[in-house]
Amino acid sequence: MGQREGAVGLTTHAPQAAQAVTLPTTLDEAVAALAAMPAAVPVAGGTDLMTAVNSGQLRPAALVGLGRISEIRGWQYQDGHALLGAGLTHARMGRPDFAALIPALAAAARAAGPPQIRNAGTLGGNIASAAPTGDALPVLAALEATLIIAGPGGARREMPVSHLLAGMEMLRAGELIGYVRVPLLHAPQVFLKATGRTGPGRATASVALVLDPARRGVRCAVGAIAPMPLRPLEAEQWVASLIDWDNGRAIVPEALHAFGEYVAAACIPEAAPAEDGSVPQLPPAVLHLRRTVAALARRALGRALS
């Protein structure tokens, strides 16, 4: 409540009157608008932002709407990669033509809430919000996607998505996520999500798994159980060595099971041993989360290799 004290002195209808909304039509115009008004907040689908506004947690002095920037609402191909506009909605990514390109991202987009949210929420917004339960995030982490950041004066810089999610690199003032570059792997990809219900809901745990046959690699990321997606790198390398890549990507069933356990143990480690050397038991809810991650990882690999 403390932050509202600054608002004392506003006249009655001021909150609405003070709001300026800019609707740029190109990325560079949007960046310029942000640079011209440092207090402005960019808004794409608004599915996260507007709930904060409605609950009084955020009172932006101005908004820069990104919805009319047509250059970031589609995608294009770029030497073996797809350059995805940050303004792609979940609904658009969920369609079959997109699913043929990046199946795991399409599956995550289809699972990302009810239709109203999917129609409005965008890929860039999912990254910028960086909510632990953001469904696209583990997929982008598994794909080792790269963000193309637009800055003032037409500047463009690149940053791995994991750097932004981990806080190793931040967006600077006036910068916007313009595009997301993801490799086109031409191999099965899976995104699985546990929610605790049948209807749309936030993930309690999610697993994205992609195969990279060219590099004979398996890449996997676990979402929703930590502030950012977790990559079980050792488990990935270990299981990739067990796949018979030249023979229909065959694998022994025991390896699927072990992979699930490996991923779960990597992402949810045992509690630190106590002073007397005994290992305390994890709480039941954490044990269940671990079982869930193990089941999701096993199922994901099984489906990718089937």
Binding site: R4, G9, L10, R110, L287
Partner: protein, 772 residues
């Protein structure tokens, strides 16, 4: 939009029509609600849509702590803010500072010395813009000395009193039969039921308008207008005549949906400023303000003989009333009285307590008390079946209650109680097909269409739940309602202060008048407290008492209408009949229209309906406490992903004791709604309050069932055995499906997984099978 509404109406009519030629009016017709189109098109004015000249906006400052001593309240900064017109605290309450919905007035309008729960109102502000009002409320400086909250109801017995009245709201020790009785088989269980929020559609809103005579009018979505008026008048230090409650449309209520914590300040602010004052609560405030279902801890021990017949039930039931008593006493009475369920139990020893804690207050939510015990006694029946190796339905059938049997309260069940028939109906209904013949990508597995479900890990389970609830207020409550019926120019009008809460009363009132007077066009007047009281809309009251009052008034009008004709033709009024606006005699000699018979006159009649009296439960829990009861049997079929623990309810088959079907479409909708609310309790709905604080007061954190979570609901049988003491022989239908469906879902999860499932909602970790 208009197309949608028309289709919806058309669909409703055709679906509900059982006969080739559907009845278009009167009892038994699937009459659509008169305001359905307006509500569908969004033109219906709810409280949040109201506006008045010179309107001010209110905001309520609520406690951020579950338990704290208030050291000081400084409103000076808030008062000085531009646009702020009034700030009120406990010092500004001119009348009685305490109020309460139940028998006990124990809740302050504004906290003065102590706050006892998260969200308790401390001050309210009126300003000329809602944002200003909210900012001013935030600018009220309250200095708290934070106290350790009592959040575990088991600790409440030993804890320091949280309230001058102490921590024990009520204790009922029910003793019935022989305490030494014992059976060959003993099963025990400890069960926990979570906190369900009624989550009413449309958050609370209200408008208070000062009157020139010093009184005030409150425009509220009240479900108990006269009760709310009396509470408000007492707090304002006014006489009830000086306060008028006008009921705006209630968007839907499954509980005491309105939070008096903002209603009372609204009127205070209006009286203080002399201006109309409005408040529209956010969903967050709504979660903090209104009452919830009682979280309950239940310990059970059932004794049964070798054939599975229950010999004795011992139980301890602990209801968490939250910070204030509200209607907890009523909930406890239902929980204790129905602790053994609709089964014949010769010996019962039930201890029930409702205690105060620093958790959010609990109160009336439909099926209160009865729902929690149903989950426990049905789990016990499953345990008996498992121990004896019997079929769960068979064990239940060996114990079911029938008319003439005696409840553990000593009350004889005099109403129809076709429990065996209901259970057999759901048991014998064909099970839903396994999806094995449909393409795999069309299967709706646990976890949903884009979920992680894997067919190999899914187990199917079938379970049963049989519930019972009482209708009308219990234990000597004066359940009376008054209605007026008026006829003029062939158009009838009903005036009755029974509030349409979505239960369908206004439609029913129209049908009753159509049936009795043969008039097609019937209007139901809006409700305010200038009309005589009809009581709160809960526990199926209005179908019974207000429906009964409408029928009597209509019959009196009928007599007034027919008497001159009967006199003229020298026959009694019974030999005349009215249908389709025409009056005919039995022999066809007389034929005229209602409009002609009226001769331009206006006919009025007012009548009351007051069911037979009940008595409070005595010191050993005995007494004829209930007017009537209704029963429901549900068979649940669930799919469980036994590795992840996700549950999908595939189908719920419902058989219900309804007395008489008055409006088939409405009845079906009420049962479906009740069953779905029960699915919420069973799987997802639990308002978590760590250390007494509501952590996620929003509909993202609090998962209501969506269309995907709701199962196929098959209404297998409606037993129409008329209850002779109820008007039309009809029973209220909304509450009992809520009671039985959570128990049925838990029973089915038990069958699918072999796990005990002692807690609702079922947590995923309780539904996994970890044998491998």
């Amino acid at each position: 939009m208009s197309n949608d509404a028309a289709t919806a109406e058309a669909a409703g009519t055709t679906e509900a029509a059982p006969a080739p030629e559907p009845i278009s009016h009167g009892l038994g017709a699937s009459l659509p609600p008169a305001d359905a189109r307006a509500k569908t098109e969004g033109t219906f004015p709810y409280a949040a849509d109201l506006w008045a000249e010179g309107l001010l906006w209110a905001a309520v400052l609520r406690s951020p702590h579950a338990h704290a001593r208030i050291v000081s309240i400084d409103t000076s900064h808030a008062r000085e803010m531009p646009g702020v017109r009034a700030v009120v605290t406990h010092e500004d309450v001119p009348g009685t500072p305490l109020h309460g919905r139940g028998s006990r007035a124990d809740r302050p309008v504004f906290a003065s010395e102590v706050v006892r729960h998260h969200g308790e109102p401390i001050a309210a502000v009126a300003a000329d813009h809602p944002d200003t009002a909210r900012m001013a409320a935030a600018a009220v400086i309250v200095e708290y000395e934070v106290l350790e909250p009592v959040t575990d109801p088991e600790q409440a017995f030993e804890a320091e009193p949280l309230h001058p009245d102490g921590n024990l709201v009520r204790h009922i020790p029910l003793r019935h039969g022989d305490p030494e009785a014992a059976g060959e088989v003993v099963v025990e269980g400890l069960y926990r039921i979570g906190r369900q929020d009624p989550a009413p559609i449309g958050a609370e809103a209200g408008l208070a308008v000062p009157r020139p005579d010093g009184g005030v009018e409150l425009y509220l979505a009240s479900t108990d207008p006269h009760g709310d008026r009396d509470t408000a008048a007492a707090c304002y230090g006014l006489s009830p005549e000086q306060v008028k409650v006008v009921v705006t449309g209630v968007p839907g209520a499954t509980a005491d949906r309105e939070d008096q914590g903002f209603q009372l300040p609204l009127g205070l602010l209006a009286l203080k400023t002399g201006c109309p004052v409005k408040l529209t609560a956010t969903r967050e405030e709504s979660f903090l303000g209104h009452v919830h279902r009682h979280p309950t801890l239940l310990r059970y021990r059932h004794h049964a003989d070798a054939e599975g017949r229950v010999v004795k039930v011992e139980a301890q039931i602990l209801l968490d009333a939250g910070a204030y008593a509200d209607t907890s006493s009523d909930a406890l009475a239902a929980a204790v009285a129905f602790a053994c369920g609709p089964y014949v139990v010769p010996n019962a020893f039930i201890e029930g307590w409702a205690v105060r804690t620093n958790n959010p207050p609990s109160g009336h939510v439909r099926g209160e008390g009865a729902m929690q015990v149903c989950a426990a006694y049905e789990a016990q029946m499953d345990k008996i079946a498992k121990k004896l190796g019997l079929d769960p339905a068979e064990v239940r059938l060996r114990n079911v209650l029938a008319t003439g049997d005696v409840l553990p309260t000593g009350q004889t069940v005099t109403c129809p109680a076709p429990v065996a028939e209901l259970l057999q109906a759901v048991r014998d209904f064909p099970l839903p097909a396994l999806p094995k013949d449909t393409p795999e990508d069309e299967w709706l597995l646990p976890g949903g269409p884009e979920g992680a479900g894997e067919p190999g890990a899914v187990r199917r389970g079938v379970g049963y739940g049989i519930g019972m609830v009482h209708m009308l207020g219990a234990e000597g409550a004066d359940e009376v309602s008054t209605a007026t019926v008026k006829v003029q120019d062939g158009v009838a009008t009903v005036l009755c202060a029974a509030v349409e809460t979505g239960q369908g009363f206004t439609t029913l009132a129209r049908q009753i008048v159509q049936e009795t007077l043969g008039v097609d066009e019937v209007h139901v007047a809006p409700v305010d407290t200038d009309q005589p009281p009809a009581g709160p809309g809960c526990r199926g009251r209005h179908t019974w008492v207000s429906g009964g009052a409408v029928e009597r008034a209509a019959k009196m009008v009928r007599t007034q209408l027919l008497q001159p004709l009967a006199h003229q033709f020298g026959m009694s009024t019974e030999l005349l009949q009215i249908a389709d606006g025409k009056i005919t005699s039995y022999d066809g000699v007389l034929s005229t229209t209602v409009a002609e018979a009226l001769e331009g006159k206006e006919l009025w009649a007012t009548a009351q309906c007051r069911p037979h009296p009940t008595e409070p439960l005595d010191e050993s829990g005995q007494g004829d406490a209930f007017v009537g009861m209704s029963f429901c049997a549900i068979r649940a079929v669930v799919d469980v992903d036994i590795e992840i623990g996700s549950v999908r309810v595939v189908e719920l088959a419902v058989a219900q004791d309804v007395g008489r079907v008055l409006n088939p479409a409405q009845l079906t909708a009420r049962i479906e709604a009740g069953v779905t609310q029960g699915v919420g309790i069973a799987l997802t709905e639990n308002l978590r309050t760590p250390r007494g604080l509501i952590r996620h007061p929003d509909l993202t954190g609090y998962a209501l069932p969506t269309a995907l979570d709701a199962p196929d609901i098959r209404i297998v049988k409606l037993v129409e055995e008329r209850d002779v003491v109820a008007p039309f022989g009809a029973k209220a239908v909304s509450a009992v499906p809520v009671v039985a469906s959570p128990a049925a879902v838990a029973s089915a999860v038990r069958a699918a997984t072999g796990r005990p499932v002692n807690r609702l909602p079922v947590r995923p970790q309780a539904a996994v099978v970890t044998g491998n």
